[in-house]
């Protein structure tokens, strides 16, 4: 190990890590939002619509992220969709994550006792209010651990963005490695940065969990 190369490359490594975090954060937020919309549509839309969306879920879940990203970045221009590497990466992460997030939300909604929905219907609450006031808050609580878990998985999918030349951490590490022929150092940096990021996310997730479940735990 040569510590000097870390000093030398730290500016571009840190910039790369910043981009990794940015791509992950936006991809996760948009992917979750899209997943939530999908889960709600699957719950309320008429059958034919749900079949179409189910097909989308199966296709996206059934293919590797790498392939999806290639299709989006290199195939997109053929249908007039020309994206820069970073936006393409974020859109790719959004699409890739959405069906997983949708399934997580779906199971979260299923965990809300049906009686609590019926109680809302019985007093005459309209469905949008039921979703907003009952289904979402309670469903999210059940879904939270799985949401955090999948967000963590997504952090590591960001390395694939290097293939479409997004200058994120993996891209910069590869550059450092090929320029210095120091491959061990590169992998060390990758491991350390990702471990740190995942640690922060999981701690943050646990904190939210403790916070939002404080009234839900039986303690008479």
């Amino acid at each position: 190990m040569d510590p000097m190369i870390f000093v030398q490359y730290s500016p571009i490594l840190i910039r790369g890590f910043g981009l990794t975090i940015l791509a992950w954060l936006l991809g996760t937020v948009f992917g979750m939002a899209l997943g939530l919309v999908i889960a709600l549509v699957q719950r309320y839309a008429p059958k034919p619509v749900t079949w179409v969306i189910q097909a989308y879920i199966e296709i996206v879940r059934g293919t590797p992220f790498l392939v999806q990203l290639f299709v989006l970045y290199y195939g997109g221009p053929m249908v007039g969709l020309r994206l820069d590497p970073l936006p393409a990466g974020i859109v790719g992460l959004t699409i890739y994550g959405s069906p997983y997030f949708a399934e997580i939300f779906r199971s979260g909604f299923r965990a809300v006792p049906h009686g609590q929905i019926e109680a809302a219907r019985a007093i005459g609450m309209a469905e949008p209010a039921i979703v907003r006031r009952i289904l979402l808050p309670l469903g999210l609580v059940s879904a939270l651990p799985a949401l955090v878990n999948f967000s963590i998985i997504l952090t590591k999918e960001t390395v694939i963005l290097s293939i479409i030349t997004v200058p994120e951490l993996m891209y910069q590490v590869q550059r450092m490695s090929t320029e210095t022929f120091r491959f061990l150092e590169g992998n060390f940096v990758l491991a350390l940065f990702f471990w740190g990021l995942v640690e922060v996310i999981s701690r943050f997730g646990r904190r939210i969990e403790t916070r939002i479940t404080r009234h839900l735990i039986e303690r008479p």
Binding site: A119, A120, G124, M125, L216, R219, P220
Partner: protein, 258 residues
């Protein structure tokens, strides 16, 4: 005294696939009267009760609240709009066996929720009325508690407050005390008795024969989806003619011997 609804149930049938859950049910409930539905489990009591506010769809027949058909535009016709159904449900309160309080809201918020989202009251106004309803069920000092910090009896009283805060004209109770520890049953039944004394129309699915005997105006006995008999409580509970009722009561009394 509350403004109370009448309920007219005529020739109601309900099928779950091939299973005939309700068979030609006829039952009419006059305003301000308390009717208890009793019978063995699986007899269709809860299903019938849930048809009254259309939480359960009936397959044929008519259910009318104050003369207005619920669930369908015309008998045997298309379903009524969601908006019309919600309007009808506003004046029908329901209390469930499992309480079904919303666990992320305090007792006060549970009761105020309907007033805010359905009646459109301001938060202040809704919470004032909710507090009043909670005091009425004896929970004036528990308003800030979440359901997880309340006993089963207290939770069920909050659920009753949630229903009565909407100023219903009809109250449906689906085995309101069946999930409670025996020592907590009394507090819930007392609230229900007070409600009956105010002149509320009540339909109560129950296994509490004492409540049926002392509070009900009429008792309806159901078995296997059929309404076997409807009569004064004494006639059903003390001098039943139908052998099915006799058998049911025999089992009930045997279980309560010790």
């Amino acid at each position: 005294m509350v403004q109370a609804s009448s309920v007219e149930i005529a020739k109601v049938n309900k099928f779950y696939g091939p299973f005939h859950a309700l068979k030609d049910i006829d039952l009419s409930i006059a305003p301000g009267k308390v009717t208890c539905l009793i019978g063995p489990s699986g007899s269709g009591k809860s299903t019938l009760l849930r048809c009254i506010n259309f939480l359960e769809e009936y397959s044929s027949g008519e259910i009318r609240i104050d003369g207005q058909l619920i669930g369908y535009k015309t008998p045997g016709g298309a379903k009524m709009s969601g908006r019309d159904l919600r309007t009808m449900r506003r004046s029908i309160g329901m209390v469930f066996q499992q309480f079904n309080l919303w666990p992320h809201m305090t007792a006060l918020e549970n009761v105020a929720e309907g007033l805010r989202r359905v009646r459109g009251l301001s938060r202040t106004e809704a919470e004032a009325r909710a507090a009043e309803a909670l005091r009425k069920v004896g929970l004036g000092d528990r308003m800030a508690n979440h359901p997880s910090r309340l006993s089963g009896g207290q939770q069920q009283r909050v659920a009753i407050a949630r229903a009565i805060a909407m100023e219903p004209k009809l109250m449906l109770f689906d085995e309101p005390t069946s999930a409670l520890d025996p020592e907590l049953v009394g507090e819930v039944l007392n609230v229900m008795k007070a409600l009956a004394a105010e002149g509320m129309t009540m339909v109560v699915v129950t296994h509490e024969m004492g409540f049926a005997a002392h509070v009900a105006d009429r008792v309806a006995f159901m078995e296997k989806g059929e309404l076997v008999a409807v009569d004064a409580p004494a006639r059903i509970l003390h001098q039943p003619e139908d052998p099915r009722i006799q058998a049911f009561l025999r089992t009930y009394h045997e279980r309560n011997l010790f």
